[in-house]
């Protein structure tokens, strides 16, 4: 009997003590610790970031540890929000461009202007205004726009040649590098070889924000510049969507929903994506070129993707975090990061500088695509309450992705859904 009680008591005690026993504190090292949320699990990325962090720690003995916490990309914003909800906001975090208005507008982030401009050698004015636009509110900068990456077209020259089509370079030289010709070529490729024509990479008929890379050629945006009115039912949008719909379901120029293929595996003629994907091209499996997005009916344009690094006010050490951010984004480190994440600094946005860190790309490719793209590009549309609006649009647009869709009805239906949310 005694043994019964003793054993049970032991088990219970173990249980009660367990929480204290396992709390091997992370801040065991001397000095304070900083935590930055990122979505990359890429070992090279992390090695680079850790290298910069080590250099910073060497100079700043008050910093004990700097950790980079990888949160899966799929649930990135969600998980970040859960951490914040739980009162465990990281000190710094990468923020997706789509979530920018929510984060900037919420007041959760620390204004960075004072720290950055007062850091010696930082050259705050060097940051490109077009790159920082998304991250400003009331004249203050709430996140540092790192990884400002333009969208461009990768072309598989082998496939195009095999289908007897002109190369993009020829088309550009001939002045006919526009969506109409691209669509025609792509359709021809698909018809002749069965390979895919143009892929809008990562657009799985869900993340419609990637369609901006096409829509902008028609000057079509889902909502007005002030974000208050839905413009999905505008005539520009109708034209852009009609183009896409025809290219997908009639011409076969764009792979339809649920068709898989991979440009980098050699299945596709053209791929719209960010230039950093160049790292996936290896071993000369096929001949390729990188060219700017083709012109649309409303002229030429470019689109950039972005992420920002923000400092959370509610983090444990906001000021120290901001100081670290200043170091991380200093001209010197910005250059190091440029091999993966194109910098927002005007002084570094030239083919020469970028060429050093992007050996795969030629000088003219960098000039035409990257430098021009970043300086003139617009970011994808975003909005406060982005997730809910994006979800409503996605659900509405689902009806558009069938061969016999009634596009005008779909688009006006989408506006009926998000109109109230935008006006809110």
């Amino acid at each position: 009997m005694k043994r019964t009680i003793t054993t049970t008591l032991c088990l219970t005690a173990l249980l009660a003590l367990a929480p204290t026993a396992f709390m091997t504190p992370a801040q065991a090292a001397d000095g304070l610790s900083l935590r930055m949320a990122v979505w990359t699990g890429n070992a090279k990325h992390l090695a680079l970031l850790n290298g910069i962090a080590d250099a910073y720690k060497a100079k700043h003995p008050e910093i004990g540890t700097i950790t980079f916490d990888t949160i899966p990309y799929d649930n990135y914003t969600t998980t970040l929000t859960t951490q914040i909800a739980g009162g465990n906001a990281p000190d710094l975090a990468w923020i997706l461009e789509s979530a920018a208005p929510d984060f900037v507008g919420s007041g959760a982030l620390l204004a960075l202007d004072d720290t950055l401009s007062s850091t010696a050698g930082y050259d705050f004015a060097d940051l490109s205004p077009s790159a920082t636009a998304l991250w400003r509110q009331d004249g203050k900068l709430f996140a540092y726009p790192f990884s400002t990456s333009p969208y461009a077209i990768f072309a598989n020259l082998d496939i195009i040649a095999a289908a007897g089509q002109k190369s993009p370079a020829d088309l550009i030289a001939a002045g006919s590098w526009n969506w109409q010709t691209v669509a025609t070529e792509a359709a021809a490729v698909h018809a002749k070889s069965g390979k895919n024509g143009v892929e809008i990479r990562d657009f799985d008929y869900k993340d419609w924000t990637l369609l901006t890379t096409v829509w902008d050629g028609w000057a079509a945006r889902p909502w007005s510049a002030d974000g208050k009115t839905c413009t999905l039912d505008s005539s520009d949008m109708a034209d852009a969507m009609a183009f896409l719909h025809k290219a997908i379901f009639k011409d076969g120029a764009i792979p339809g929903p649920g068709t898989s293929g991979d440009f980098f595996a050699g299945d596709t003629a053209f791929s719209i994506t960010q230039i950093s994907r160049a790292s996936l091209l290896k071993d000369g499996a096929f001949k390729w070129d990188l060219v700017p997005l083709p012109a649309g009916p409303k002229g030429s344009y470019s689109v950039i993707g972005q992420a920002g690094i923000g400092v959370f006010k509610n983090g444990k050490h906001p000021q120290d975090a901001a100081a670290f951010l200043a170091f991380l984004s200093s001209p010197e480190n910005s250059l190091k990061l440029a091999q993966f994440f194109p910098p927002p600094r005007l002084s570094q946005l030239n083919a020469e500088t970028l060429g050093k860190t992007n050996p795969l790309l030629s000088k003219s490719q960098l000039e035409e695509v990257v430098v021009k793209g970043i300086t003139t590009g617009k970011v994808s549309p975003s909005h406060t309450n982005n997730a809910q609006i994006a979800q409503q649009i996605r659900a509405s647009l689902d009806a558009a992705w069938t061969p016999d869709a009634d596009l005008p009805a779909v688009l006006s239906g989408a506006c009926a859904k998000i109109g109230p949310l935008l006006a809110h």
Binding site: I5, T8, T12, L15, G258, T259, S260, A387, Q388, S396
Partner: protein
């Protein structure tokens, strides 16, 4: 024979104290359940109470504001134009899943219960998806269900032009149900198989003598005798069907449109994606109510259709 074994000496007249054997037994009972109950209180009851409290508040996570709104979230719940569709999708999903799961499980169990050589191999195959990681399973099926995926490739061999399974509202729902059923039907199959093997063989012999057909035997003998198992598995399957999340997240993200947005997924969207924690909490309360009500219903209706040995 042997001498007496020494016994602990007890005074002949033990007075009846408060600490009776019965009380001591109670105490041991409490000790035994203490870890589990403590866990349930700490990890279930307290969080539930917190969720109930959140549902009475408006909570903006990013801005860090938290304010009491009384029944505001419940008013929103009552007037949410999306909710009827979500509940309908949940109902379709659960009904489809439970019917398909239980009937397939029963079919497989009956097949395996025939005394055929090699059924162990089939049993192993039917059960194997249960042990495959859910995320991997869903990822693979997403591939197979594509327009040019494996399913349609097979159909094309039979000269059938398959639909784009995950893009049509009805086919998406059917696909999600089928994927989920194939993954988990092995569990119910095994439980049914065990129940079938417990049905006394003489009953079938008696029924054959009485001239009952195989169908009559199945519906008049087998089904009633395994009905307690059917009840328990259906309770667990119904409760489980209302909690399905990862599969929907990987396969359809609630689409196309909102056709596969079931309640749990909607809750997840509202709370974690749109940051409406308060509203999400009220949806959680609704979910709890539905699960509880359904379970109670099944349990109280059991007398009507479950054969009871006792």
């Amino acid at each position: 024979m042997a001498q007496d074994h020494p016994l602990p000496s007890i005074s002949p007249d033990v007075r009846r104290s408060w600490w009776t054997p019965a009380r001591r037994d109670h105490f041991i009972g409490y000790l035994f359940i203490l870890p589990q109950i403590t866990g349930l209180v700490v990890f279930v009851l307290v969080p539930l109470a917190l969720m109930a409290w959140y549902s009475l508040n408006e909570w903006n996570v990013l801005a860090g504001t938290f304010s009491f709104v009384g029944l505001g979230n419940y008013e929103k719940l009552a007037t949410d134009p999306a909710l009827p569709g979500v509940l309908w999708a949940s109902a379709c999903f659960s009904v489809g899943l439970v019917l398909f799961n239980l009937s397939l499980a029963l079919l497989l169990a009956v097949l395996l219960n025939q005394k055929l050589a090699g059924t162990v191999v089939f049993r192993t195959i039917f059960f194997s998806p249960v042990v495959v990681s859910l995320v991997a399973w869903a990822i693979v099926w997403r591939f197979l269900l594509q327009q040019d995926g494996g399913i349609n490739a097979v159909l094309r061999m039979l000269s059938i032009d398959g639909p784009n399974w995950l893009r049509g509202p009805n086919t998406a729902m059917v696909s999600v149900i089928v994927v989920q059923v194939v993954k988990n039907v092995g569990l119910n199959m095994v439980l049914f198989l065990a129940a079938l093997q417990n049905v006394p063989q003489e009953l079938y012999e008696a029924a054959r003598v009485d001239g009952a057909s195989r169908w009559t035997q199945f519906f008049r003998i087998t089904v009633p005798l395994i009905s307690p198992t059917v009840l328990l598995t259906s309770i667990i399957t119904v409760a489980g069907s209302l909690q399905v999340f990862a599969q929907i997240a990987v396969l359809t993200e609630g689409g196309p449109g909102t056709s596969t947005t079931v309640l749990v997924y909607y809750l997840y969207q509202q709370a974690f994606q749109f940051h409406f924690f308060g509203y999400g909490a009220s949806l959680a309360m609704l979910l709890l109510l539905i699960v509880g009500a359904l379970t109670y219903l099944q349990w109280s209706l059991r007398k009507a259709w479950v054969y009871d040995n006792d």
